[in-house]
């Protein structure tokens, strides 16, 4: 039973590493798109074509990769991230069920860490859902076009649910900033688990499995 739990812990640990890597990929690409090579760099109309991928702004290069490729990297790393987060939730389904059953007890009396973890996880999930949705709107429903720029300025740009593309973009970027903040809190709250399991894994798989099973037999 304990070996099975250790095994699940290790799977969770490595899944979290892949999760962290895809978060880093997504955040790096978004940082580059937002601050290093923002689209068109002010020359929106003359440097971009019609709908979809423009000409000028999308060919600015960072780290040898043009902007339109950074957009693809951002989009697809986000899709991978979404998949891993769903897997992460599935792997933690027992914890989720248990914690929701005991929710009432967390908020009566003194502060309990489980209550903090629950709130942080729910907020993170909601924000991630909002970010995913706004990302899909920007990617698939309102893809950028040069002519949007002047439409946007006059308030006559394409809309989805009454919001122009630039508003969706603003929501997308600020919600992702909040997500970064809550990820930091999420890591702080689970720090003991991360450090403890890292130490055990660094000692080696052999020691982890064989050592434990021997102890259990004894």
């Amino acid at each position: 039973m304990k070996i099975k739990r250790d095994f699940i812990n290790i799977i969770n640990y490595f899944l979290d590493i892949v999760l962290a890597l895809s978060v880093i990929f997504t955040l790096t690409s978004s940082y580059i798109l937002w601050f290093v090579i923002p689209r068109g760099v002010g020359a929106h109309f003359y440097m971009c074509g019609n709908e979809g991928m423009g000409l000028g702004g999308n060919y600015f290069v960072s780290f040898g990769i043009p902007r339109y490729m950074w957009i693809e990297i951002h989009n697809w790393s986000s899709v991978v991230l979404l998949g891993i987060i769903i897997l992460h939730l599935v792997m933690h389904r027992t914890w989720l069920v248990e914690i929701f059953k005991r929710t009432g007890s967390f908020f009566n009396g003194p502060v309990k860490k489980a209550g903090e973890q629950l709130i942080a996880s729910i907020v993170l999930f909601i924000l991630f859902a909002v970010d995913c949705f706004s990302g899909f709107v920007l990617w698939l429903l309102l893809p950028r076009g040069a002519l949007d720029y002047f439409g946007m300025l006059s308030g006559g740009g394409r809309t989805f649910w009454g919001l122009q593309r630039n508003v969706w973009l603003d929501i997308h970027v600020w919600v992702s900033v909040f997500i970064v903040g809550i990820i930091i809190i999420h890591i702080i709250l689970n720090w003991r688990w991360v450090v403890g399991l890292s130490k055990r894994i660094l000692k080696g798989f052999r020691g982890l499995f064989i050592g434990k099973s021997r102890k259990e037999v004894e």
Binding site: W34, F35, P38, G42, G109, P110, V111, G115, E116, A120, Y149, M152, L153, Q164, N166, L169, D170, V173, W174, V177, F178, V180, G181, I182, I184, I185
Partner: protein
């Protein structure tokens, strides 16, 4: 009654977490201003460590730290209104409304939570 080591209220923890979120948001607020690309707002970098410093102060002196956080939240709105790079839509994330909701509000709530905790649980209570 709470036993030793137990925490009375979620307020200081909530204030700390909101302060962390506000600190991250302030970093990006600063980066948006740097998109002006004229180095006019390079002095804004001094603001980035302020929320962390104020959180450390608030950990020891609840009222002073909380008050500093509230003042920082107000200062950010004033800076955004007075020094606006470009116009909304030109730079992603630019706009006074976004600054108020995503940068000032977490810092303001963080500061207010510290102040409320100070008055509700007294000077010597610790989180």
């Amino acid at each position: 009654m709470n036993t030793a080591g137990q925490v009375k209220s979620y307020l200081p923890k909530a204030a700390l977490y909101l302060g962390i979120i506000g600190a991250v948001s302030l970093l990006f607020f600063n980066l948006i201003f740097q998109e002006d690309w004229t180095q006019r707002f390079i002095w804004l970098w001094f603001m980035v460590p302020l929320p962390v410093i104020f959180l450390v102060i608030a950990n020891k002196f609840r009222f002073s730290g909380g008050l500093l956080m509230v003042l920082l939240a107000i200062a950010i709105i004033v800076i955004d209104v007075l020094l606006s790079p470009g116009h909304p839509g030109q730079v992603a994330g630019r706009g006074v409304a976004y600054t108020v909701i995503f940068v000032s509000l977490p810092l303001l709530l963080s500061g207010l939570f510290y102040i409320i905790y100070r008055f509700r649980f007294g000077k010597l209570s610790r989180a």
